[in-house]
């Protein structure tokens, strides 16, 4: 499972990087005479409503998805780990403030807050990244807080404190590393969530705007052509499902590898 997941994610990353070399078509180039044409040898995924090559656009969309996944996960994992570690280690008022913020943000189901934020801020990739990060850090904060609460009582942490180590050093070298395996698993699954989140927002017309080729935007464009050109829907969706499946395989595999209970 771990290997299959890693292979899928690696292949997608390669496709995103080497995209322009894998197809001779520009993702923005239009050939209106061939609009909505189905898959052929020249265009294996067919053409869209403006006669653009869908394979080239799926490859370009992989970049957007990976940029979203990596940005959202790296920022929200860093912020969430820092705030969670502070809440767990210091307790008291700091913990109260951070935990109440977490409670309120968790009171919004899944993507709802992201939909609300992008609705008022306006549709753009930047706002999608902001909204997904704002809902993303909460999971890491709660996870790390719990781990730190446990680690705070470990003897080696108390020994470091007794030896005169300062709080940032204790947190950074002794406490946070105990939470890292769980954070890495969460980050892998969180990346899948961020990619689905961006695609969902773009599908609803609230995310990446045309003509930028995002998988969600492409699926949104395909809705009007379900009857006459289903390939507009099939290929971008397949790309999302495959990458998300790969990340879920990877996350599950990493969890099994790092969780002693699963052995």
């Amino acid at each position: 499972m771990l290997r299959a997941g890693a292979a899928i994610v690696l292949l997608t990353a390669l496709a995103a990087i080497l995209g322009p070399m894998l197809t001779r078509f520009d993702p923005a180039a239009q050939d209106l005479a061939l609009r909505l044409a189905g898959p052929s040898l020249a265009h294996p995924f067919g053409l869209d409503e403006l006669g653009r090559d869908i394979l080239a656009r799926v490859l370009a969309g992989a970049r957007i998805s990976l940029i979203v996944g990596l940005t959202v996960v790296s920022v929200s994992a860093s912020v969430g780990t820092l705030l969670g570690a502070m809440a767990g280690y210091f307790g008291g008022a700091i913990d109260e403030v951070i935990s109440r913020m977490v409670d309120v943000l968790l009171a919004f189901p899944g993507l709802l807050l992201a939909i609300a934020l992008v609705a008022v801020l306006g549709p753009s990739l930047g706002h999608v990244l902001f909204a997904l990060t704002l809902i993303g850090w909460v999971g890491y904060a709660r996870l790390v807080r719990g781990q730190v609460l446990r680690a705070r009582e470990f003897e080696y942490v108390q020994a470091a404190r007794a030896a005169g180590a300062r709080t940032p050093r204790i947190l950074w070298t002794h406490v946070v590393p105990t939470a890292l395996p769980a954070v890495v698993v969460q980050a892998t699954l969180g990346m899948a969530g961020a990619i689905i989140g961006e695609a969902a927002l773009s599908f609803l017309g609230l995310g990446v705007q045309p003509p930028t080729p995002s998988w969600g935007t492409m699926l949104n464009g395909g809705r009007a052509h379900l009857l006459d050109a289903p390939h507009l829907t099939i290929f971008p969706g397949l790309a999302i499902a495959l990458l998300v499946l790969g990340l879920n395989f990877l996350g599950d595999g990493l969890r099994d590898a790092t969780d002693p209970k699963s052995h």
Binding site: P109, L111, L112, I115, G237
Partner: protein, 306 residues
């Protein structure tokens, strides 16, 4: 039990207040002048002044906040900018459709997930288990905004068996309910598998077998019954995901519920209605979580003590 209930209710109040505050501040996050954004560039100064007065934007922020909270308490969330209909009435009209879809999706999920989870648990580690686990992971990975159109292509366009959109007959409900229920089924199947595997390791299952109970009876009457508590909890906690999923599913199948109303209000910049829909979904979610916690506490006394 009463102390647990009161404490749990009291803990919900600050969360609800936080939710209301966040929903109130949404409209003030609109870049530039929200009134200008709602009316567009062609609005006259008179129109803008009129709307500003109607929304109370000409009053100090703390007065607006107090008025908003009072409105939430009295179910008066203002009127829709587009239709002039009270927000609560617009939402109430759409609510039955959303609940019909959400509960049908949960039913679909339960019917698929529980047998799948039990089968995977009983044959854990075998090919059957791997197939069931992979199927569940596929269910989680396939986004509903792809599954929905895909099923519409197969069952409506190609086979012509089911209607592609709208609400009315039971046939209209099939595709939206499966689209919304599939990811939940996947999560639930994984939970059922884990929970049943844990129970199957308990001595009372071995004791039941030693007393001569068949394998099926030991699994279904003993292990599965005891693993139901975490399964029901997950089902309750996933209600929020179902409500968010409903926003997308209703958009795909033109299902006239609150989710579709939300997306329509966003495109018309009808912010009072947007706020109302977001508030309703979040409060329903908090309420469902509270109910799940209370039921869990009722079923398992250990939770009440903790």
């Amino acid at each position: 039990m009463t102390r647990f209930l009161v404490r749990r209710l009291l803990l919900t109040i600050p969360v609800l207040l936080g939710v209301a505050t966040l929903v109130f501040s949404l409209i003030h996050l609109v870049p530039g002048d929200p009134v200008q954004a709602m009316l567009g560039d062609s609005a006259t100064p008179q129109d803008m002044a009129e709307l500003r007065g109607r929304l109370g934007f000409d009053r100090p922020l703390y007065v607006q906040y107090a008025a908003f909270l009072t409105g939430v308490g009295t179910l008066n969330l203002g009127t829709s900018l587009r239709t002039n209909q009270p927000v609560t009435r617009a939402i109430a009209e759409r609510l039955p459709a959303t609940f019909e879809l959400a509960f049908s999706a949960m039913l679909v999920a339960t019917v698929i997930a529980i047998p799948l989870g039990i089968i995977a648990a009983v044959w854990a580690g075998t090919r059957v288990d791997h197939a069931a686990t992979t199927l569940a992971l596929l269910g989680i990975s396939i986004p509903n905004f792809w599954l929905g159109p895909l099923m519409a292509i197969v069952f409506s366009v190609t086979l012509g068996w089911l209607p592609v959109s709208g609400r009315g007959t039971a046939a209209h409900l099939v595709l939206p309910a499966i689209t919304l229920g599939a990811p939940l089924a996947a999560v639930l199947a994984r939970m059922t598998r884990a929970s049943v595997i844990e129970e199957l390791r308990e001595l009372y299952v071995l004791a039941a077998r030693a007393r001569g109970a068949s394998r099926a009876r030991a699994v279904l009457r003993h292990a599965f019954r005891n693993s139901l508590i975490p399964i029901v909890t997950v089902l309750g906690l996933q209600f929020g995901a179902v409500l968010t999923g409903a926003v997308i599913t209703e958009t795909i199948f033109a299902w006239p519920g609150v989710g579709r109303l939300l997306i329509q209000s966003i495109s018309f910049r009808d912010y009072p209605l947007v706020q109302g829909c977001i508030l309703l979904i979040a409060v329903t979610y908090v309420g469902m979580n509270l109910l799940t916690d209370v039921v869990y506490g009722f079923l398992d006394p250990r939770i009440r003590v903790e």
